[in-house]
Amino acid sequence: MKEENKLLMPSLILCAAIVAFPTAFLLYVSLHRWVLFSREVNFVWLGNFYSIITSSDFLESLRVTAIFIFSSTLLTLLFGLALALILNEKLRGRGLFRVIFTLPAIIPPVVAGFAWKFLLNREVGVIGGFILPALGFEKSIHGDPLLALISVIIADVWCRMPLTFIILMAGLQAIPDVLYEAAKIDGANYWKMLQNVTLPLLKPAIIIALIIRFIDAFNLFETIFVMTRGGPGTATETLPLLGWKIGFQYFNLGQAASLAVIMLLITVIISQVLIRRMR
């Protein structure tokens, strides 16, 4: 045992330190009035948390975030499920479809955001500047609060559907064929099998997909930042963008840290609730 420790403890300690330090320091900062360029750092207990939670910016951002997460998670889950079910059938070319549908996952989110910003641009974009106006729709997408929010949801669905698709695909492949054969002998049609065999057995995979996708959408920053910077106004300012603004534009690091802690708590609580449902 001693000899094992000699090899393994150094790297383990280093790793623990490198992970523990930011978490601990984040908590420490969140409990202080910590503004960059100001020398004074005062312990304020939960003061930062209080000012964040009671600010109208936070409540507005929470509303936008909730709409964004709900729509984006729901859409990626539905598309992922539908496409995984279709590509679980014996169709010609399904290998190629699978590869292509997962492609956006490896594109840098910044590039995905830029691509959609470009496509939807009112002046030069092929969709926002040509197709939509030709159909009689003249508004600027990024100038309208609701349309801007819809546009970042579309970009996020485009970018992140592969995540749910991959998880559900793997879940489907894990269901043994014997069950389908037995159902067929009992005279079940496709929809009956879907309802009574596939979906119940897929439930754990669906919940894993939901958790991973929720965390992913909750923390999404780049795509929205590149597309709208949270605008117009605060129409697309989700919590990560608000946190960035507080921390690195207003330089109020204490409040940014406390917002991050709040978000981490929300993440942990919601994923715990979802994990419970899996059993």
Partner: protein, 277 residues
């Protein structure tokens, strides 16, 4: 009866292909449009209705070379390369020890490692920014490397730990009885068959570093900027050079595409945080 059933089957197949086709267009259209626009001149991108047939030009790509933008690509490569080495050097022994020496503490460390991936990036960057700033290391590659390692190392450990745990332990034990040290066991017995996983961890590390935006954006201003920051800063200026932005975007996509073609199934494991094996 048989005939009508097969025509119905035929129709349902058609519907499935139609759905697949629509989504295929949705996925491929933005990428295709970026490629097309990167081959246009600035003036050609401004024309509405957009031209589908035009004389392609490599002007935008040449601008990457002449406009001093190669530095961002070089930075991206350097940061990702150094991060791979560090993540593997520290990650392999740590993952092995977590996999072999079980204790209550180890279990918790494993979960803790993963929890940093659940925290919002702007929160993780706050403590790092304070430290890097007080060390006067802002706008350096070192700063970015440290920040990326913070995400990559726990992730590498998590994936490798899962892999090591599935390996048969008998050979290792007999080697230990024969007098081999743990380090020898790790290097000679455990690592060689683990190479596919090690390579996939290296690629995932690369992809995270290559794609990551916020840390670099906060920690650097010009010297240490990487490709995603370059894309964002080009997209944020008022003088839109559309072909150039498209060309840089294509350049940003290429490495990941190459990797995925090589090791598709390993990427799947990484994208889902090891939830799917």
């Amino acid at each position: 009866m048989g005939a009508s059933k097969s025509t119905r089957h035929h129709y349902s197949r058609l519907i499935l292909y139609a759905i697949l086709g629509v989504y295929l267009v949705f996925v491929l259209f933005p990428i295709t449009w970026l490629v097309l626009s990167s081959l246009k001149t600035h003036y050609q991108t401004l024309i509405i209705p957009p031209q589908l047939v035009f004389q392609p030009t490599m002007e935008a790509y040449e601008k990457i070379f002449t406009g001093g933008m190669l530095k961002a690509f070089a930075n991206s490569l350097k940061i990702a390369g150094i991060d791979i080495v560090l993540a593997l050097f520290f990650g392999i022994p740590a993952a092995y020890s977590l996999a072999r020496f079980k204790s209550k503490l180890n279990e918790n460390i494993g979960f803790w490692f993963l929890s940093i991936r659940m925290a919002p990036a702007f929160g993780v960057i706050v403590p790092i920014y304070i430290v890097i700033r007080s060390l006067k290391l802002l706008d350096s590659i070192f700063a970015v490397n440290l920040a990326h390692l913070l995400i990559n190392l726990p992730f590498a450990i998590w994936l490798l730990k899962g892999y090591f745990e599935e390996m048969p332990i008998a050979i290792e034990e007999s080697a230990l009885i024969d007098g081999a040290t743990r380090l020898q066991v790790l290097l000679r017995i455990v690592l060689p068959p683990s190479m596919p996983m090690v390579i996939s961890v290296a690629i995932l590390t690369f992809m995270f570093s290559w794609n990551e935006f916020l840390f670099v954006f906060v920690l650097t201003s010009s010297e240490g900027a990487t490709v995603p920051v370059l894309v964002a800063s080009l997209a944020g200026t008022m003088t839109f050079d559309w072909p150039l932005m498209c060309a840089v975007s294509i350049g940003a996509m290429v490495p990941a595409f190459i990797f995925v073609l090589i090791v598709q199934r390993f990427i799947v494991r990484g994208l889902t945080l090891g939830a799917i094996k």
